[in-house]
């Protein structure tokens, strides 16, 4: 007697294309947000370089400012600013998902939590502007 036919067990595993993240707007934003961490790191390095130049005296600080005014550095910093804004906005939009605040037994609406984060952002930015303008 012949053996019963064996069911072929050969699951198909689809390959993921390298450009999978272009398929959907949310995937593109996700990849850009991940990429933004590099620019966040660069902004920290830039600030540290600035502080170091400041500590080394006026001549060094002027040299740093000249270097920072170069077209490549300005272009990089503009790009960095764009990514920092993306990073900040997506982070603030995330806060209501991560934070559940209850007041008198009722959950504070997500919009209020995100709104609070944005308000704090505007307040700190305004403070920095005032410090820079009125120094």
């Amino acid at each position: 007697m012949s053996e019963p036919a064996q069911q072929t067990q050969r699951p198909y595993r689809p390959e993921i294309s390298r450009l999978w993240w272009l398929r959907r707007r949310s995937y593109v934003f996700f990849v850009l947000r991940e990429l933004s961490s590099i620019f966040v790191a660069w902004s920290v390095v830039f600030l540290l370089l600035l502080v170091r130049a400041l500590a080394q005296g006026e001549a060094q600080f002027r040299a740093f400012l000249d270097w920072a005014a170069g077209p490549w550095v300005v272009a990089l910093d503009v790009l960095t600013l764009a990514f920092l804004v993306l990073h900040a906005v997506t982070w603030f939009n995330l806060t209501p998902a991560a934070t559940v605040v209850k007041l008198r037994g009722r959950r504070v609406p997500p919009r209020a939590i995100a709104g609070g984060a944005y308000a704090a952002w505007v307040a700190v930015t305004a403070l920095v502007v005032v410090l820079v303008v009125t120094r």
Binding site: P11, Y12, R33
Partner: protein
């Protein structure tokens, strides 16, 4: 409205093909027909060999999840008229190995789910004579949203992190862990935290948010994972500041 609509159905018969192909079927276009009704029409009248899973037809059993025109959907709750004049492409859920036609292997999830102890964990249970574990409506509201999960796998199909790294515990399992963490009767949060506080657990999630958009029951797995991350971060901070303190 046309009388028929074309279903472009992914076929994979491992005994015949090395990779999926697409087969087109004309099915009646009726206002009350879901994609699943179209598939049942194919199976009953056109090609009895078409394989797919389904059961309840009312969005509860979670077995008829498929990719409809590129989106993970419950086919019993996705209506053909919304895709008229068609065609409607029906493929298996993404991110899972395909066993046959529209049937995927969800064994990976079935292995991961019990690891997060998705049940009420009690240190020392009370006896039956002591009565039930009581709960107020407010305490119920804390977790009821996360208890709506029907394990349909649409969130895994929508999650690019799971697609790229199948070791990731994934949205539904973490949301279910959180469902029990937030249950006032449960005492298993520490056990689950030890299991999920690693790069393949909660920290694997990069908050793409597609799981929440795909969920047909409004569970919001992405929100559950972000809340879990905040709890984990606070707990780590606490154990750093107070290394000898209680957990």
């Amino acid at each position: 409205m046309a009388d028929t609509i074309t279903l472009e159905v992914a076929r994979y018969r491992p005994d015949r093909e090395t990779e999926p192909t697409v087969e087109a079927f004309e099915v009646p276009l009726r206002r009350d027909w879901a994609v699943l009704d179209g598939l049942n029409h194919v199976k009953d009248n056109l090609d009895g060999s078409l394989s797919y899973r389904w059961s309840c037809r009312m969005g509860i059993c979670g077995s008829c999840g498929m990719t409809v025109n590129g989106e993970p959907r419950l086919t019993c709750a996705t209506f053909l008229v919304d895709y008229a004049p068609g065609p409607v492409r029906v493929e298996p859920l993404a991110n899972f190995p395909v066993i046959r036609d529209l049937v995927v292997d969800i064994g990976d999830f079935m292995r991961k789910l019990p690891e997060v102890s998705p049940w009420i964990v009690r240190g020392e249970g009370t006896s039956v004579e002591e009565g039930e574990y009581l709960q107020t409506p407010e305490q119920l509201a804390d977790y009821s949203q996360f208890s709506m999960c029907i394990n349909c796998m649409l969130c895994y199909s929508a999650c690019p992190v799971y697609g790229l790294d199948p070791e990731f515990v994934g949205p539904a399992a973490i949301a279910l862990a959180q469902r029990y963490n937030l249950d006032s009767r449960d005492e298993g949060a520490d056990v689950r935290m030890d299991l999920l506080i690693h790069p393949e657990g909660i920290w694997g999630c990069t908050f793409v948010g597609e799981c929440t958009r795909a969920c047909p029951k409004g569970v919001d797995p992405a929100g559950a994972i972000q809340r879990y991350k905040l709890t984990a971060a606070l707990q780590s901070l606490k154990s750093f500041v107070l290394p000898r303190g209680p957990r």
